[in-house]
Assembly symmetry: C3
Amino acid sequence: MTPLHLSEDRYFDPTPKQKEIAKHLYSRVATLPLVCPHGHVDPRLFADPDYSFGSPTDLLLIPDHYIFRMLYSQGIPLEKLGVPRRDEGAVEPDHRAIWQLFAENFYLFRGAPTGMWLRDELYTVFGVEEKLTGESAQDIYDQIAAKLASPDFNPRKLYEQFNIEVLCTTDAATDPLEHHQAIRNSGWGGRILPTFRPDAVVNMDMPGWRDNINALSKISRIDVTNYQRYIQAIENRRAFFKTMGAAATDHAALTAYTEDLSPQEVEAIFQRALKGVASAEDANRFTGNMLMENARMSIEDGLAMQLHVGSYRNHNPLIFERFGLDKGADIPLQSEFTRNLHPLLNKYGNDPRLNLILFTLDETTYSRELAPLAGHYPALKLGPPWWFFDSLEGMKRYYTQVMETAGLHNTAGFNDDTRAYPSIPARHDLWRRASANWIAGLAAQGIVDMEDAEEMIIDMAYRLAKKAYRL
Amino acid sequence: MTPLHLSEDRYFDPTPKQKEIAKHLYSRVATLPLVCPHGHVDPRLFADPDYSFGSPTDLLLIPDHYIFRMLYSQGIPLEKLGVPRRDEGAVEPDHRAIWQLFAENFYLFRGAPTGMWLRDELYTVFGVEEKLTGESAQDIYDQIAAKLASPDFNPRKLYEQFNIEVLCTTDAATDPLEHHQAIRNSGWGGRILPTFRPDAVVNMDMPGWRDNINALSKISRIDVTNYQRYIQAIENRRAFFKTMGAAATDHAALTAYTEDLSPQEVEAIFQRALKGVASAEDANRFTGNMLMENARMSIEDGLAMQLHVGSYRNHNPLIFERFGLDKGADIPLQSEFTRNLHPLLNKYGNDPRLNLILFTLDETTYSRELAPLAGHYPALKLGPPWWFFDSLEGMKRYYTQVMETAGLHNTAGFNDDTRAYPSIPARHDLWRRASANWIAGLAAQGIVDMEDAEEMIIDMAYRLAKKAYRL
Amino acid sequence: MTPLHLSEDRYFDPTPKQKEIAKHLYSRVATLPLVCPHGHVDPRLFADPDYSFGSPTDLLLIPDHYIFRMLYSQGIPLEKLGVPRRDEGAVEPDHRAIWQLFAENFYLFRGAPTGMWLRDELYTVFGVEEKLTGESAQDIYDQIAAKLASPDFNPRKLYEQFNIEVLCTTDAATDPLEHHQAIRNSGWGGRILPTFRPDAVVNMDMPGWRDNINALSKISRIDVTNYQRYIQAIENRRAFFKTMGAAATDHAALTAYTEDLSPQEVEAIFQRALKGVASAEDANRFTGNMLMENARMSIEDGLAMQLHVGSYRNHNPLIFERFGLDKGADIPLQSEFTRNLHPLLNKYGNDPRLNLILFTLDETTYSRELAPLAGHYPALKLGPPWWFFDSLEGMKRYYTQVMETAGLHNTAGFNDDTRAYPSIPARHDLWRRASANWIAGLAAQGIVDMEDAEEMIIDMAYRLAKKAYRL
């Protein structure tokens, strides 16, 4: 048996001086509670005290597009990985066979963050001490399955074990938040908060927008027949989310375009959309207008405003048609913030009551646009490296390209942004180690003293996220 | 008291082998004279032998937008930092209180170049040995104030103490250069040279262009009523600057667009501008045309030509209206050089008499456009990392993304680009240390031998700047 | 005499732990055969058993635009370097004088990959142990000339000495491949394969396209009077190249634009081109259409498809007019893949029979577009860092920006892409050392174990290239 390789000094620079400082700094934060202000864990996990994760394959492979996209890129059909088809066509039913196929191809993940997280998760959460290969696959499957069957292994118990302080989910504007309500009613002490994500009722070019407007009318009890009522309904939902503990809103947009539409223009566009005749240009301008509106609302209700820019969703139509959304086929685009955000920042950027937290899939904007903007506007903060850049090298680029100009205190700490609940500790640990290593580099180069270094690591591991989201 | 932390090995890689070489290389250049071919120090400092810097806050905080932008980004109003309002509205008058506020927030500058320069400046120029915090603030204020009051602490004495060999200022085309004249007349031996910056009479979209043309007519004694006379007036001023010792011109443009307008077109645009009816398109084309004209003039009169591209000036209208220009609200834009400079390089790029020195705020152009262009065209050189990238990590990116392709000798050494006179030694020292460290890395990896390494560090610290600006 | 400095540990990180691992990994692949799936070596070298390289200057300087562009950038006319003029005007005839001039300016190549390759080549291929300077120039010239005169120094003997396993050339669609035929007929055992490059009959905006179509008619014996016959002729040539051993096609395009033109549209464009009235827009769309067609053909005939995007060819008209193509005046442009490749990937991206290998001159596309695309689509692989980025720092950026997201197995190993035959071992050695060093960094940071590290280095040095090109 080849032992699973999980060094205690992992992710630290091999230079002795830097590594020594990194270890020291990491030791200051390794056991701090996890603050999770943005992610996609299903609140049902915590609403149902008897929630079961299913098989190891159910838990770790089938829902994780970070993992199956890599196997798919090497020619393995998603059907063979058990990913359900929209037409309910046949997919591999044997979860052990899927696991075996994954294990035999686990070499594809050498050096990839998915591999690093999974290795950590297997060891730390499931107690696996063997390297995952074709030979060890079934043995490890058994170990995971045994853990999953144990009474201690349920979402609420893991919440304690993971030392989570707060975990925010992401929820549609029209979501009744019944699971969040059930969690509250259950008397369980975990802090699971909803996040208001209105994309489905904002982006007119999304399939189903009209239906979503109907759903918005229904749940808000405001008949959304014009723009004014639409805004009232949005405000109504934000207020409800806030009573349910929400700390933030979240907005995904193809670009960072913002525009303050005149009342006449916005009403005309909205009416065209209700009739199903809005153009792509209408949709783009309306989204830009709604970013302005939501910034205004955030100033009023105090919810942090997250903006995720630049993902070309469903780039592969065959995969979308056969398997649906979120199947590893979303590809980044070039992005621009300096001009696009100008209208919004012009109007609200000087207001420190606004906490607008930006995320990008175009790393060229780090040093060119985002750091200079965040280093000036009181309303702006930068979120951590997102998606493809939530990785060791992605973090190194972020630290070196953002921090000098933006300043650490204009960043928003870490969030794990994951739907893979058991991977949360591994993700935070990677960030904490990478942060400790970066600060150790600063200390070893004489840029900061140890007093500052110790403050910085606590900021990065814990305090900045709480501050940016006012948690 | 916490001591101010200023390691003798600062900014060197912690790997022992590289650090040892870096220290050796740095020792070869640490005391070489400072060549300052581009910056914004006010020539009045040297014209008036009794010039006073005012209070520590006057000197170090109120004029430095690198510093107050960071405080502003955290919600501290500029009024509280003593930044004067254009409407002469009330701002904090107590310089000790401003200094206290700054010191209490100095943690914001951890890892930022501003923090690194200031720490160095406090220690090296002002003899401060205590870390700047809220507790030590008043004590340090006293120490700086005492220095400022001492007879040895005036701009001319500091010029000697800093070991400056030459310092170029930046001056409007219509500037009579009376301070430069006064310096010459004074018999003082320092070498303070003007730089010809015609932006205010070139960029038609700048406020006051028409007034600036009037001023140009007046000072050149050429009645600028058409394009031909305009060009004559520009040439007249360049010639005057040259008699005053100028080594270079400087041009700021939103883009690197160049175009050779026909005599008819350029006259039509110029006439529209004189009548106040030029369009944005006119302004852009005219600027592009004037870059061509100035390149031609540079070939004729031998002045180096600096081109700074890509800053969206005054991105924050509220700050601009209340406080004016240069208040930390200038944000970079994406830039393009390959197509935009094609007309200029097509016409003048093969002429080795031209020294066109390029500066970018878009680091993606380093490896993609600027290094390949500079590695081919005899007329091109690359300026050092500019503004937000004048930092340790900015320099590292510049070295690794530019040098392999452009070659060291197609770069222009360092310039400090600062209006903060006492920060000059710290800025050059950071460049020299970063350069020594980079070359040490090459030597430690067996890329260059020590003989080459020693030549390279002298080039970077001293010779390349003199050569590019023919100083 | 200053010894030539060629450390055994060159290009490895100076950190002892990383260097030790890097040396170990490098030792595993240092002597593996060289797989050369893409390059520009002239097949005549191998067709003629008595081929002579000419003088040292003929071999090393006059044909190598990587070298003379750097000298030109410093104001040395190409005529002084013996580069032949199209008008047959006078150029320096004295090869010793040219070599002397080069040697005196060899300091320009400090830190540049060209300098690193040449140093390695001088030592390893020519046995030179002295540093190249003005003083040593003639001595070294003599040593090289002596080697060139020796009977062991001919292309076929070097092929064995270099331990080349396979070497692919790049050949026009209309090339009769007579040299390849002669190699086959000679009975010599070296494996020299043609590569099908149809650019000259595809890109309508290239000078001579109409003549090339005539040549295509002639060699294919298909009268290319319409689009259907044009496609037949292309297919005919691909089939011929395949019988001659071709493993791949190669396509150069200004952008990655792809489009499936309707039969009517494509015929109309083709007819306009035959009449010499096609527009730039026509040419762009036609190229995009032909990328689609060639992808289809690659699925059918199994040839790997290489796509090189983003070079603005002949940026300097003066150089082009006087000296022609490939004179160091090709400059990169911003590139975009996510939208541009969408039509092609939509149609063929899910087909694992296609091996589309992408090359970019815009490094910003690595992490933003190329790695996410390659990490999803079965038909996509990423080629190694190209041209200006085929360098130590270019490789480091490639590894850190590509590998985490794409995964190593979605990359295509190394190719040397050179016309400078004797530089091939130095180029592969640089890649192998850089790869070993990168993997050693992963191992030293606890990201991969040594078992994985040893697999990875063999993949990068040898196996991935063979797999991607099915060699």
